[in-house]
């Protein structure tokens, strides 16, 4: 199994979710992160003092999928989350050694 970590622009969430459902991905988790990359904050003035907002809010999706589903998941997210503008985000893939569904004790691919 693979853990797919995708960082996306927050307003793309609903679209990505719908697209993943369409290709049969049946679970994921989302959390709020702040990040930087090429898109590197912006400067604001607050009460006369200039400052840089160093981090841009993003959403991080974490999705565990069976090995066979990994590439199509990555592709789907990539397509839907793309705006072509800086800050679209990244997708990383890392290995998962085991999975367990707490409710039923199903294991690995069955647990996803």
């Amino acid at each position: 199994m693979k853990l797919i970590i995708a960082v996306i622009k927050p307003f793309k969430l609903e679209e990505v979710r719908d697209a993943l459902k369409d290709i049969g991905i049946q679970g994921l988790m989302v959390s709020e992160v702040k990040g930087y990359g090429r898109q590197d904050g912006h400067s604001e003035v607050y009460r006369g003092a200039e400052y840089t907002v160093s981090f841009v809010p993003k959403l991080k999706l974490e999705i565990v999928v069976a090995d066979k589903d990994a590439s199509k998941t990555v592709e789907t997210i990539s397509e839907v989350a793309k705006t072509g503008k800086i800050g679209d985000g990244k997708i990383f893939v890392s290995p998962i050694e085991s999975a367990l569904r707490i409710r039923t004790d199903e294991k690995n691919d069955d647990a996803i």
Partner: protein, 453 residues
């Protein structure tokens, strides 16, 4: 089934004993008979007193409400990790001011004939009110009830302390701050205020400060400035390279609510300072004051709005809040005489002032969390001087004398007090405590425990 004339029994027993009181009191003084005995009550004697007292009661509860305004404004402008502490400070300072002003402040400020140093320092005694059910022979018919006056004046005293808490937020220790509050509201403020409102030397000199641009606001700001200087800036606020690190307020809706509360309370602050509404002239004056107070706030807000939009390309909400308050402070020294147009301009200049003053103080590394020194101090001085624009009895020299002498006095004694507190108990929390937040280290209670931060 419908009941037209409902004989009311509520609290009958009190009612009854009161009527007895009254009969005695009134019969002794007036030829009109009491309503209970023949349905008339003569107001030629008591009406003025009643109206004035009512003005103080209404004005007083409106100014009391400003305590909530300061609490919300300041809590909205600190970071959430310090919010509970800021709340506690505001509740505690108002409570302590209430007690200190009753125990020493009020009579120190209004010594009557009881000055210790004539015109400079009054005497020390507990405040006593008229007895319950007092009659015409027990009150000053040309003024208002002592209870209402005390209530009203107390709120001004508490407001002075509220100003301080905003400036020194996010780093001052709880107890040194509270001890300073007691000294300020029990001693410092009453003394300098007595110079003017207690009939002391400044009032003799012809200084004019209708509702306290200097006597209250600049005084609070001077005490705050002293505190900011002794305690120093928040950790990480000023970098070595000269840059200023903003520490944005955590809850701007709360801050805006606070501003609106203050705006509302200010009608009591300025309107009540007419001290009378029992004649056509007085009540019309109170009306002028309401209208002028409102328009000055509007002027201050609009000035800050336009200026920040032009200067920074984006309007700055916190500056607009400060601007409205600066407009209010500016008109406070003379809310009666200006026309609506002049009042708007006086307020607008107040708004302009703070847009420049806030970053200026930062350049001087004076860390004023909510902008109180600018709003209450700089705009307060401006308002005091601006009295000459509409009040021909006021002279620029005397206005300057008044504001300088009160500010310097307050600054010096406050500085000394803060120094002593700092030496005795340390006025500032540790750097680690600042970083973790005072709510955790000083109080052990988070303001918003359910939200991640």
């Amino acid at each position: 089934m419908m009941m037209q004339f409902n004989p009311m029994f509520k609290k009958k027993e009190q009612r009854m004993s009161k009527l007895l009181f009254l009969s005695t009191a009134v019969l002794g003084l007036s030829s009109t008979t009491l309503f209970a005995d023949g349905h008339t009550q003569d107001y030629s004697e008591s009406g003025y007193f009643i109206f004035n007292t009512l003005l103080f009661l209404i004005g007083g509860f409106l100014v009391m409400w400003m305590a909530a305004g300061f609490a919300m404004l300041e809590t909205g402008l600190v970071r959430s990790k310090n919010a509970s502490t800021q709340l506690l400070k505001n509740v505690a300072l108002f409570s302590l001011a209430s007690i200190a002003y009753f125990i020493v402040g009020f009579n120190l400020m209004y010594p009557g004939d009881g000055w210790i140093i004539d015109g400079w320092m009054g005497g020390f005694s507990l405040t006593g009110l008229e007895p319950a059910g007092v009659g015409a022979d027990g009150v000053d018919l040309t003024y208002a009830s002592v209870g209402s006056d005390f209530f009203f004046q107390l709120m001004f005293c508490a407001a002075t302390a509220s100003i301080v808490s905003g400036t020194v937020a996010e780093r001052v220790k709880l107890w040194p701050f509270l001890i300073f509050t007691i000294v300020l509201t029990g001693i410092f403020y009453p003394i300098s205020a007595s110079w003017q409102w207690g009939g002391g030397w400044l009032s003799e000199a012809g200084f004019s400060d209708f509702a306290g641009s200097t006597v209250v606001h600049a005084t609070g700001a001077a005490a705050a400035l002293a505190g900011a200087m002794v305690i120093g800036a928040r950790h990480g606020r000023y970098k070595d390279d000269g840059s200023v690190i903003p520490m944005p307020g955590s809850n701007l809706p709360l801050a805006t609510l606070g501003m609106f509360i203050l705006w509302l309370g200010w009608f009591g602050f300025n309107g009540g300072s007419q001290l009378a509404m029992g004649t056509i002239g007085d009540v019309a004056d109170v009306s002028r004051i309401f209208a002028n107070t409102n328009t000055a706030a509007a002027g201050g807000a609009v000035a800050a709005l336009i200026l920040t939009q032009i200067m920074y390309g984006k309007a700055d909400l916190t500056m607009v809040l400060n601007g409205a308050l600066a407009g209010l402070v500016s008109i406070t020294a003379e809310p009666l005489m200006p026309s609506l147009g002049l009042a708007t301009i006086i307020g607008a200049i107040g708004g302009v002032i703070i847009v420049f003053s806030v970053p200026l103080l930062d350049r001087l590394k004076i860390d004023d969390v909510v902008g109180a020194i600018s709003v209450h101090g700089i705009a307060g001085i401006w308002g005091t001087l601006a009295v000459v624009l509409s009040n021909s009895d006021a002279s620029f020299g005397t206005q300057l004398l008044g504001t300088v002498s009160i500010c310097v006095f307050t600054f010096v004694v406050s500085y000394i007090a803060w120094m002593i507190l700092d030496m005795l108990m340390g006025a500032k929390v540790s750097e680690e405590s600042e970083v973790e937040g005072l709510d955790k280290t000083e109080l052990g209670i988070e303001a918003y425990p359910d939200f991640s931060k």
